[in-house]
Symmetry: D2
Amino acid sequence: MSTADVTGTAPGWLSAAELGDVRDRVPMVYVEAVPVRLDHLGRVVRVGLLLRPLADGTLSRAVVSGRVLHGETVREALWRHLTKDLGPQSDPQLPPSPSPFTVAEYFPDPRRTGFHDPRQHAVALVYLVPVTGTCEPAKDALDFSWMTPEEVTSPLVVAEMSSGHDRLVRIALAHAQRLP
Amino acid sequence: MSTADVTGTAPGWLSAAELGDVRDRVPMVYVEAVPVRLDHLGRVVRVGLLLRPLADGTLSRAVVSGRVLHGETVREALWRHLTKDLGPQSDPQLPPSPSPFTVAEYFPDPRRTGFHDPRQHAVALVYLVPVTGTCEPAKDALDFSWMTPEEVTSPLVVAEMSSGHDRLVRIALAHAQRLP
Amino acid sequence: MSTADVTGTAPGWLSAAELGDVRDRVPMVYVEAVPVRLDHLGRVVRVGLLLRPLADGTLSRAVVSGRVLHGETVREALWRHLTKDLGPQSDPQLPPSPSPFTVAEYFPDPRRTGFHDPRQHAVALVYLVPVTGTCEPAKDALDFSWMTPEEVTSPLVVAEMSSGHDRLVRIALAHAQRLP
Amino acid sequence: MSTADVTGTAPGWLSAAELGDVRDRVPMVYVEAVPVRLDHLGRVVRVGLLLRPLADGTLSRAVVSGRVLHGETVREALWRHLTKDLGPQSDPQLPPSPSPFTVAEYFPDPRRTGFHDPRQHAVALVYLVPVTGTCEPAKDALDFSWMTPEEVTSPLVVAEMSSGHDRLVRIALAHAQRLP
C-alpha cells in the first residue's frame, strides 16, 4: 500500500498524526483493484501492475490500492484511486455489483493472513476492473506495465511484489479462470 | 425464449425435428444476459429489454437468451446472442469471470421453479452485461428499449414479461444493489 | 445497528469517547449476517431477524450486525457477533469464501445510499449464514424470530425494520433466488 | 467424469445408445462439487477427492461430478451425486445461492479450455460444498480421501488428477482464499 493517502485538506482527509492515531484503534477500509485488459469475449489477456515505492524505500510491483475516506462511497474511492494511479485517460470500467471477488485483510503481523501492512490493520475490498483507456503511471508510481497471465505469475514478477499482492493477483486470475 | 435457435446448417445446429427429439431427453444449456447501461461509477442506470414474439404468437418483453451450441463456449454463445439481438454496433462488455450471477432453470411445468418454458427443460447461466454501443433490435425482435430500474420493475412492464424474466431482472437489480 | 460495541476493556475495544472521536474521521468496518435455515437441498426456508432497541429508544427488527475490532479478522468478528446475538448454541455455518454477497454502506444522510446510520459512516460486508443450532436472543436483543421469505418481505415486517435492513434482506433473498 | 450416468430405467435416464446420440448434438449439463471440511470460522481445512476409474481404464483422483437429468433441478442433481459418491451419511451442506463459483467447460479437444472430456461437450456448474458427515466411497469410486490444501495442490496429487480437475481445485481454493 502506498503512502499517498496520509495527508490532505479536503473533508475526510486527516493529518499524518491524526491518521496514525486512528490506525491504532480501528481497522481501515481500503479498496483495491486488479486492472485487466479483456478481449471481446471478456477473457483476461493482460494484468496491469504499478511499480511504486513502499514506506521502507524499496520498490514494489502492486495493484491499485487506497483508503476509503470518511463520507466517500466505495465506488467513489475506486474511481479516485484508479484514475489517480492509472491517469485520467485510463477509463476504468467499474463493475455493476458492489460484491468484491475477495476481501484482503492486512495486518502488521505477516503470519496472520498472509496480507501484510506494517503500518496498520486494513480490510480491503478487492475488485477486478477492466480498463479500456490509455494508462500512464501517475501519483507516486514510477511505472505501469501490462503483463500476460503467465508473466504476472512468473517467479521473477512474483519476487517484485510484496504485501501479498502476488496472492491477490493469483486469486483474481483464478476467479477469471486464467490462472496458468 | 425465442424460436430462433431451432434450425440452421452450421456445425452444432440441429434440424427442428432433431432438436425436438433431443429436448425430450436432456436439459438444454442456455445463456442469458441482462443488458445494462452503467454510469462512470459502475452503477446501473438503465436495463435493456427486447420485445419479441413467443412461440404462442403473443408478444413479450425479455432479456437476451439463447442456446449454447455443441462445440461452442459459453462466452462465444453470449457474444453471438448479444450481437445478434442488440445489433453489431452494441459492443457488449462480457464479464471477466465465468461465474453467472444466478442460474435460471426453465421447466415446462411453471410451478417447478417459477421459470417457465413450455418447450423444454433448460438450464440458463445468467449474466449482467454492460452494453456501451448503439443497440438496434435485430433477429426476430420488434423493439429494444432502455428503462430505468423503476420503470423495469413497474407493474406495467412486469405484466409484459413472461417465462419468469421479471424475476430475473429483479435478481439482477438486487445483485447490482439497484432494486427499487 | 446496535449500541453494544461501544465500550469494553479487551484489546481492540475503545471507550465511548474514543470511538466517537474515531467515527468522525474514518469509515468503520462492519460485518453483517442474514441468518437462514436451509432445507437439505440448500434452499432458504426461513430468515432470522432480531428485535432490538435502536440508539433512539425505538424497537427494530434487524439482521446480525457489528463492528470489526482492531486486530480481529472478518471471520472472527462474524463468529463473535453471531454467537453473541443468537446464543452459544446457534452453530452458525460461516461460508468458505470471504466474498460477501453485497456491501452495505451506511451514512448519517439516509439519501446517500439508502443504508442509514445516524452515528457514523460504516462499510458492512454482508453474508448469508446458514444457522443449524438452537437460537435464543442474547446480548441486547429482545427477541429472535424465524420467518418465511413471504413473511419477512411482507409490509408488516418491512415496517418494523430500519436502517435499510429490509433492502438487505431482499438482496439476500434474491441472491438465494427466494425473493417472493 | 465417470461412466455411471450412462444407463438407467428411471425417467430422465437414457440408454447408452440414446445418450451417445444426444452427446453429439448438444452440450450436456453437469454439476460438480468440491467437497470441503471447514473449521468453525468457515476456513477450508481439507479438500475431499475421489479415486475412480476413467473410461479408458486408468485411475484418477477427481471431485464429485455428474450429469443433470431431464426434469431434475441443479440442486437435486448435486444432492444425488454427492450422496451417491460420498455415501448416505455424508451430509453435504448445499449452498443457499444457485450461483456456481466457476463454470467448467469440457471439450473432447483438451486445448479448447483446458477442461477435457473425450466423450462429450459438457458445461459444468461447479460448487464448493461443505461436508459435515461421514464419507465412504460409494458408487464406482475406489477411495475417498481428505487432504490439506497443501497436499491437494502438491505435484504428486496433481499428477493423479485428470480432465482439468487439478485446476478446478486450485480455483476453488483461491475462491476460499486457501490457495497455498
